[in-house]
């Protein structure tokens, strides 16, 4: 049963993308309800990150449609999608290495304010306060004044998430938020993701099954750029093709 369209946070319809002769995304249609927690699964090269890049506008789709709360955003530039409530994190840490943690998160906050165009005034102090508050949420307030280059990898992962959360997104795309973390750190991040309010719909790429399946309500399995299985967690876990392609045993 597909949900009624009026509560869809994010929808892709027949999305296609080729890189040269290589089809990276083939006819991908997914529907993400408002507040849903969706997991994107698939072997390496299945086209998960490409799908993210299409959704955020980093790359433009060859054909198909992307809708955000019913609005067609297929051709909308990346930055405008952010202003409509879309945030993402990156599989490969993409932070501002020379800046402090506070400055990193503050840049995320400034991005959505008109004052970002002001060439005469520095960032308002309340942006910095808010940045520190958000860093507090991810347990990094004590490091707020340190440059990114001086903190540990696991902490950078948390800054990635803090930057996205600071924007209070309606749709949050998490690209392997647990990649390269120790089991203790993974538990921390998991708790963090569980704590994200329901106003935010989440689409997550993650390979760590134990954690990821716990977080997900619905799962989409991609293989060679195509949707193989799409359904609730229980349906996908029980699915024969999902077992063959990805879950194993």
């Amino acid at each position: 049963m597909s949900p009624p369209d009026d509560v869809l946070a994010l929808e892709t319809i027949g999305l296609c993308k080729h890189f040269g002769g290589l089809p990276a995304t083939q006819d991908v249609s997914i529907k993400v309800r408002s507040g849903e927690r969706r997991l994107l699964l698939g072997p390496n090269g299945a086209g998960k990150t490409t799908l993210f890049n299409l959704i955020t506008g980093d790359r433009l789709a060859d054909s198909g449609q992307i809708k955000l709360f019913g609005e067609d955003i297929t051709r909308l530039p990346t930055h405008k999608r952010a202003h409509r409530g879309m945030s993402r994190t990156y599989q490969i840490i993409t932070l501002f290495p020379h800046d402090t943690l506070e400055q990193n998160v503050a840049l995320g906050l400034l991005a959505l304010r008109r004052s970002r165009w002001n060439i005469f005034r520095p960032m308002a102090p309340d942006i910095r306060d808010e940045a520190r508050r958000v860093l507090g949420l991810v347990g990094l307030e004590r490091l707020a004044s340190r440059p990114i280059s001086e903190i540990a990898y696991g902490e950078k992962r948390r800054v990635e998430i803090a930057m996205a959360l600071a924007q209070k997104p309606k749709v949050l795309l998490l690209d392997e938020p647990l990649a390269g973390l120790s089991s203790a750190e993974r538990a921390d991040i998991k708790a963090l993701i569980v704590g994200i309010p329901r106003e935010t719909s989440i689409v997550m790429i993650e390979h760590d099954m134990d954690t990821a399946l716990d977080l997900a309500e619905t799962v989409t399995l991609l293989h060679y750029g195509k949707v193989i299985v799409d359904g609730t967690r229980e349906e996908v876990v029980a699915d024969q093709r999902a077992r063959e392609v990805y879950l194993g045993h």
Partner: protein
């Protein structure tokens, strides 16, 4: 920011008193250093803060200078309106050049800016009817801001000092503003900036035009000082000298371009009166800077300072 303003004004006051004890040669050297400094400051907005290395920034210096020269001699305008129109014209051309050059970044951007500036250089050389070609435009005059003549070495020096101080402060404010923060962001992580909601292209374009504006201001100082303008002012050599100053002093720092511009101008004008091969010395000096302080003089000195016992990190 208050600290920077106070510091800048204090330093400017010291430099305002200095020429009272110096001969005209040194006063003129000081004026030339300030002209190069304003140019380097504007160049640094692109190279240091926006991460956009251009080889055609002299186009805006030369264009403003030519416009002013042409408007005051051929069009018979007064200096005030000529200055305004020159800057306006430069900003418009910077806007157009930005539209073309910012289709690329990195090497592509560098080559397009170079090509565009060479077009202006070629025009200045060949369009003899307007620019007087290789002979340059001569017998130009200096303006009289608020009725004060700036024809003597020392009065021009003070005029240049006021303009330099204003340029420095406004550029410092720009760099530290909200917008300046986003300019830095587009340099370090342009993809992330777009994903966060910043219009990366627009940020770069505005920075490009703003840098063009200040290069135009440097161009006016340049033509007022020399009372003469030649196609060389638009050439790649002028751009290269500017960028050398930025890199030597420390790109992406506030004071670095001023120090670097002073160094280049000093070597070019002072040492060249003793050494025919001053270019070689310039080369050696840069080699040493790159080897000892790869980030430039200002960051290099800062690092040394931090290493001193009791120095702060």
């Amino acid at each position: 920011m208050k600290r920077i303003v106070l510091l800048a004004i204090t330093v400017a006051l010291v430099f305002a008193v200095l020429p009272l004890f110096l001969g005209d040669f040194y006063i003129n050297l000081g004026s030339q250093i300030m002209i190069a400094a304003v140019f380097a400051l504007s160049f640094n907005l692109l190279v240091g803060y926006a991460g956009l290395t251009s080889l055609g920034h002299a186009a805006f210096l030369g264009l403003a200078a030519y416009l002013s020269a042409w408007l005051t001699t051929r069009a018979g305008l007064g200096h005030g309106s000529a200055a305004l129109l020159s800057i306006l014209g430069t900003v418009v051309v910077a806007g157009l050049f930005g539209l073309i050059a910012l289709r690329a970044s990195g090497l592509g951007f560098l080559m397009i800016t170079l090509a565009l500036s060479q077009v202006l250089w070629g025009l200045a050389y060949r369009w003899v009817a307007v620019t007087n070609g290789d002979n340059g435009m001569t017998r130009l005059t200096r303006p009289q801001p608020f009725g004060i003549a700036i024809d003597s070495a020392i009065s021009f020096y003070w005029f240049a000092l006021v303009v330099t101080l204003a340029s420095f402060l406004l550029i410092a404010i720009f760099v530290r503003s909200s917008f300046g923060n986003s300019v830095n962001g587009t340099r370090d992580q342009s993809r992330r900036m777009a994903a966060l909601g910043y219009d990366v292209w627009m940020i770069r374009w505005i920075t490009f035009v703003y840098a063009g504006f200040w290069a135009g201001v440097a161009g006016l100082l340049y033509v007022y000082y020399n009372k003469y303008i030649h196609p060389t002012s638009l050439s790649i050599t002028t751009s290269a000298e500017g960028i050398l100053g930025v890199i030597a002093g420390g790109s992406g720092t506030l004071v670095g371009p001023i120090i670097g511009a002073a160094l280049v101008t000093f070597l070019k004008n002072y040492v060249s009166s003793y050494l025919d091969r001053w270019n070689m010395l310039l080369g050696f000096v840069f080699l040493i800077i790159v080897l000892v302080m790869p980030d430039g003089i200002v960051p290099g000195v800062r690092k040394l300072w931090a290493r001193l016992p009791g120095g702060r990190k």
